[in-house]
């Protein structure tokens, strides 16, 4: 059988994946790069990033303060050598994006402008109005079209990693349009599949954010690191979960409770609206519990008020927010406050990878939200994720190209057998399945509501244990799933089933990792263990796949260079 074969294969076509593909080609122009994505690359969830990308560019900024802000923001769970490398590389990547056409908003002298952002001690967030991710993704995707070495497989869903002699040598992908299973082999594979927000009901994440790369790597034997660290963004629109950017507060917006009070003075008095996301989300939930939230048809909420900024500033810097308010809430944010409440936004955890994106599996790399290279620790600072995609996407691309130069190609026979086995598995589990009385939609909805209830802003042992049991029950029900759609042509129900399979896997890792971390650090706030415990938990959780729902957990020391853990107050 013939296989497509590449030197480097990138799974995922968002900012990290495309940056990795270009870096691989620029590192070695003879490299052939494949890019497989379940959507056309410009549909990737990078488009929804709004506020900006942090980099210590300006004369008033320094690598040291960006590093310290990131480490403190992480609640000291970030690997400090990784952070130090990141802050040095981020400005270079921002300039690279500028050369590739990103329409960064500018200062009057034509240099790239910056805005304030949460947890950052100075103005360092570059932005393209309030559609930064959209503009970055389209710029980098359109730029990628000039490289003939990058060959795309759009709308193909990776179901399994090909592992031969403990080395990753490619993937099995389901071509969505035709229903055909393909082996796509490569000397190295980079996972850049984004986040897993769709395990929650109330999330800013798009439908495609289903943790595919995390589950693929986990099942292949790689570790998932710090998965209990799930970020809740303070300002989502009730009902839809649509993100209202932190830049609204960066530009001077106020968060107000039902008494019209800027309640953050009780929680982050020195930072107020520019405190870090984990603390502000907890503050909001605390205010709700104490009766100081607004009551609406979709639960409690706060007001995010920008009226004092004036129409001119809003239209110049936050035009998309005005559009979202008008269309999805029916308000004009120039005249009315925006209803907001905390919403799942980002997974700090991910596939365990080092500073070059290498995972524990030879030939397998990871970058972007699906990876955990040790940058974000317990809480990512807003506007660090876009530069993370660039810096570590590029690093993974270069490393994968370098490795591919000397790696042997996959051998045909085992690949053929693995492809056959995988195609049979999916067909017999779904397409040809006899019996079964469960539907995908209800199982997914139940998982999402369980996760909202048990693994939200605040957690405790009881809730997490119940959640773990319930996920077990949902997994049993999933085994009895019956799909309605048996067509081979653009069968989105099969894709939904495969995604749900992945999400149930990753959700369990989040829950079991969270149960075992008996302390409160960053976004992981345990009501039964309210204090940070550096003695026992200044460590990364690394979860490995087992034959049961519960992973095997290991712990690894955090890399500390010069920033000793301190009490974290703002």
């Amino acid at each position: 059988m013939d296989f497509e074969s590449y030197d480097v294969l990138v799974v995922g076509g968002g900012l990290a994946g495309i940056r990795a593909a270009i870096a691989a080609v620029e590192a070695n122009p003879n490299v052939r790069v494949g890019m497989v994505s379940k959507v056309y690359p410009m549909r990737s969830h990078t488009v929804s990033a709004e506020g900006g990308a942090a980099a210590a560019l300006g004369p008033g900024d320094s690598f040291e303060t960006h590093a310290f802000d990131t480490i403190k923001g992480s609640d000291y769970l970030a690997d400090q050598d990784v952070v130090e490398a990141f802050v040095r590389e981020a400005p270079v990547e921002i300039i690279q994006m500028e050369h590739w056409g990103c329409p960064w908003s500018r200062n009057p002298d034509g240099t790239i402008a910056v805005r304030p952002f949460g947890g950052m001690s100075t103005w360092r967030t570059c932005f393209a109005a309030d559609k930064t991710g959209f503009h970055m993704l389209h710029a980098v995707f359109q730029t990628s079209l000039k490289y003939p070495q990058i060959i795309r497989h759009d709308e193909a869903f990776v179901t399994k990693l090909l592992i031969e002699d403990s080395r990753c040598v490619g993937v099995v992908a389901l071509d969505i349009k035709t229903g055909r299973f393909d082996a796509i082999t490569a000397k190295s594979v980079i996972l850049a599949t984004g986040g897993v927000g769709r395990v929650y009901a109330f999330t800013t994440n798009g439908n495609i954010c289903t943790g595919d790369g995390m589950a693929l790597a986990y099942r292949a034997g790689a570790g998932l690191k710090d998965m209990e660290m799930v970020q809740f963004h303070p300002t989502g629109l009730p009902f839809t979960g649509i993100l209202i950017t932190e830049a609204v507060r960066g530009e001077g917006g106020y968060l107000l409770n039902k008494d019209g009070e800027r309640f953050l003075k009780r929680y982050v008095p020195n930072k107020m609206e520019l405190g870090p996301r984990d603390i502000i989300s907890r503050a909001m939930v605390t205010e709700f519990e104490e009766g100081r939230g607004f009551e609406g048809p979709h639960g409690k909420y706060m007001h995010l008020d920008v009226r004092h900024l004036g129409e001119k500033v809003i239209d110049r810097k936050l035009p998309f927010m005005r559009e979202l308010g008008r269309e999805y809430v029916g308000i004009d944010i120039v005249k009315e406050p925006i209803p907001v409440r905390p919403v799942q936004h980002y997974e700090m955890g991910g596939v365990d990878a080092n500073i070059s994106g290498e995972t524990e599996i030879l030939g397998l790399y990871a970058a972007g939200e699906c990876a955990n290279v040790g940058l974000n620790g317990g809480n990512r600072l807003g506007s660090n994720s876009l530069p993370e995609c660039l810096v570590f996407g590029a690093a993974a691309g270069r490393a994968a190209a370098h490795y591919a130069a000397t790696a042997k190609p996959a051998t045909a026979n085992p690949v053929d057998a693995m492809l056959w086995d995988e195609a049979r598995r999916v067909e017999s589990d779904y397409l040809e399945k006899k019996g079964g009385n469960e539907r995908i939609g209800p199982i997914r909805e139940e998982m999402q509501h369980e996760m909202d209830a048990g693994a939200g802003v605040f957690r405790n042992k009881e809730g997490l244990s119940r959640l773990a049991r319930n996920l077990g029950g949902l997994r049993e029900r999933f085994e009895k799933v019956k799909v309605d759609d048996t067509s081979r042509t653009f069968n989105t129900e099969i894709i939904a089933a495969l995604e749900l399979d992945f999400m149930l896997e990753v959700a369990s890792v989040i829950v079991f990792s969270g149960l075992a971390r008996e302390e409160s650090r960053g976004a992981h706030a345990r009501r039964d263990f309210p204090e940070r415990d550096d003695e026992h938990f200044l460590k990364h959780t690394v979860a490995y796949h087992t034959n049961t729902l519960a992973p095997r957990l290991e712990y690894r020391d955090v890399h500390i260079t010069e920033y000793q853990p301190q009490a974290r107050s703002y």
Binding site: H45, G101, R439
Partner: protein
């Protein structure tokens, strides 16, 4: 009004079984004023009929996946509110003018080729080294091309375009607008490389400035303007005595 429902008539077509698309009716609960057509499709898929196929992701009007014909008009279904249709039924069909793959899923590979053909990247005679920092560009210079950079590739303009409907060789609204986006960018020097593709491609002279593309754009892009400006650029290039005519 806990029991309010809306009728959704969705186009169904599976090339493995059907010769022609047909409409299938579903009753969907309509329980919140902020529900959109996409929410109704998701309800159908999750609870009534898992075989209905369509694309979607961000549900906030930025990823460009969920364009469909809603009561005959090209719309992002995440941005088409049920309240604007109820109590009448909503008819959801695949975007006009594209080959149909399945149900509400169209084949947009043609656009992907067209996008690449206009060289949608910054072209410079001499690339600035990274160490030299950013190109200086003012917000006013960005304003020159800003609206064209807002294109989300949702294909609504192609579905509305009478010329594309007749002649698929036509580069079409979005690709022309994106070429314009780069041609107007103060950092770019690629006009000469792009103009042959944009202006000499079929169709542009047939565009009669109907402007349907600009009307249906959910992002305020004005592709019709881009097309007219491109015609003007081309004309100028041929009539000016020192125009670049290689």
């Amino acid at each position: 009004m806990a029991d309010k429902t809306i009728t959704v008539r969705a186009a169904r077509f599976d090339p493995e079984h059907d010769k022609e698309p047909r409409l299938q009716s579903y009753e969907v609960p309509f329980y919140d004023e902020s529900m959109v057509v996409l929410d109704a499709l998701n309800h159908i898929k999750n609870h009534i009929d898992g075989s209905l196929s369509y694309r979607w992701s961000c549900r906030m009007g930025i990823c460009g996946s969920c364009g469909m014909m809603v009561n005959g008009t090209p719309k992002l279904t995440c941005n088409a509110f049920l309240r604007d249709y109820w109590p009448r039924p909503v008819v959801v069909q695949p975007l006009n003018n594209f080959p149909l793959i399945r149900d509400l899923v169209i084949d947009m590979d043609d656009f992907m080729h067209k996008l690449k053909s206009i060289k949608p990247w910054i072209i410079r005679k001499q690339e600035l080294p990274l160490g030299a920092g950013e190109h200086r560009q003012t917000n006013e210079q960005i304003d020159d091309f800003r609206q064209f950079s807002e294109c989300i590739n949702c294909m609504l303009c192609y579905a509305a375009c009478p010329i594309y409907g007749l002649n698929e060789e036509f580069l079409g609204p979005a690709a022309t607008a994106l070429a314009r986006r780069y041609n107007l960018d103060s950092r770019d020097e690629g006009l000469k490389d792009r103009l042959p593709v944009v202006a000499e491609a079929e169709g542009i002279w047939e565009c009669s400035f109907v402007g349907e593309c600009s009307v249906v754009c959910p992002k305020g892009v004005d592709p019709a303007k881009a097309i007219q400006q491109t015609k003007l650029d081309t004309t100028m290039r041929f009539v000016l005595p020192y125009g670049n005519r290689e």
